[in-house]
Symmetry: C2
Subunit: 241 residues, 2 copies
């Protein structure tokens, strides 16, 4: 448990890709299956990481105004079209690319996710706060059984995290002060931006986010309000503040 014990928040906003769902396994599994149908020997883990690596770059282009507002389905597709060649998958046709692009709507939850969320939901309003588009997050929740009280997406604000509009917009929609909202994420950069906008923060470790070779990010002692091994541990901490 953290050395200082902040007063508990009223609402919990969750980063989604990596924090709630295992994008690496979901994307790699679907890509491997598609590659096998074409007889391509794919390094599916590298393919998933390559696709994911294009995501912050593409969002930053939107954030800097180089691209007009484009939702994540659109950005994912641009990135996909850019990487299929170097993975030997340029034979994929429109229908296959479109289907593969929606693998991000079908990502599996981590084993501790649903149980932890159900416990946390008893005490707090729980929402997404993700750069994923609204329909992606809604379909993902339906597929993976994520019991959100509501879905909040960067799309609602026309700004991607870490723009302040996202953290403050989420607090405004939930009608809570920023200090009564806590971001739960496995990415310190997201948490640092939330903190600088007055939110509380919970860092959850996801040691397999990028698959076998994942290196956990560096986090300073006491940097975040709570530090948890997984969602079950987070529920333990929040139930006994």
């Amino acid at each position: 448990m953290s050395p200082h014990k902040p007063h508990p928040p009223k609402a919990l906003a969750f980063d989604v890709f990596g924090t709630v769902v295992d994008w690496h396994r979901g994307v790699a599994t679907e890509a491997a299956s598609l590659a096998a149908r074409h007889g391509v020997a794919l390094d599916a883990s590298a393919f998933a990481n390559d696709w994911r690596a294009g995501y912050p770059v593409a969002m930053d282009r939107v954030r800097r105004g180089e691209l007009p507002w484009t939702h994540i389905d659109g950005l994912h597709r641009m990135i996909l079209d850019g990487i299929v060649g170097r993975h030997g998958l340029d034979m994929l046709d429109e229908s296959e690319r479109s289907h593969l692009n929606r693998a991000w709507h079908r990502l599996p939850a981590w084993p501790d996710t649903v149980g932890g969320l159900l416990r946390l939901k008893r005490h707090f309003t729980i929402t997404t706060l993700s750069n994923g588009n609204f329909s992606l997050l809604t379909e993902m929740a339906k597929n993976a059984g994520l019991p959100w009280d509501c879905v909040v997406s960067a799309e609602l604000f026309g700004h991607y995290k870490p723009d302040p509009e996202t953290y403050l917009g989420c607090a405004r929609l939930l009608d809570v002060a920023p200090g009564d909202l806590m971001l739960v994420a496995c990415h310190p950069s997201d948490l640092r931006a939330a903190r600088s906008n007055g939110l509380r923060t919970a860092y959850v470790k996801r040691p397999k986010e990028n698959g076998p070779g994942t290196r956990l990010p560096e986090v300073a002692e006491g940097e975040f309000d709570w530090v948890a091994e997984d969602f079950g541990h987070l529920a333990d901490l929040m139930e006994n503040p």
Copy 2:
């Protein structure tokens, strides 16, 4: 069942006040209890109907630009302050008014609501599409156990129903064509506006919406795609199109 059988929609958007929850009973019950504490003989049914009657008037002022964007909690409070006098409740202090105003966050579901929604959720994405603000709808869902896939509020668009931005904005967020979205409502005016924006429509009868003296609105034969007695009946119809 409707005489023509349209192809089923992909997503169902629900009007909330009256359609999903029994605002009359919820508001009358809380007001009666508060009045009793002050020894006031309140006609709680008339009080509830009086409060509700101010709602379309206040929203129309926002829609015409006479008031800046004001969410429903704010409009409800303006109306409440305007009617307490004529109901003998002007002694209510700030804390009592604030609490009573949030009776709209605590409205009870109709008896058929949760069971019907759970059935419909198996086949469709189900969301609110209400003029109620986002936090009100989120808290109401938590209180009443409404199993939405997501919460959509007029607040997200800065427009109240029946402005087209609400119906089309909901379809856009869910990433479905307007013709693949169906509005479920007990108010023909809402359904007619949805239809004129290309949505499908389901009229659900709520013969007790305004309490004992409710008169059902007039609906022409075949005017809407589906007509249901309650949410259980709607689920019957949608499961066997």
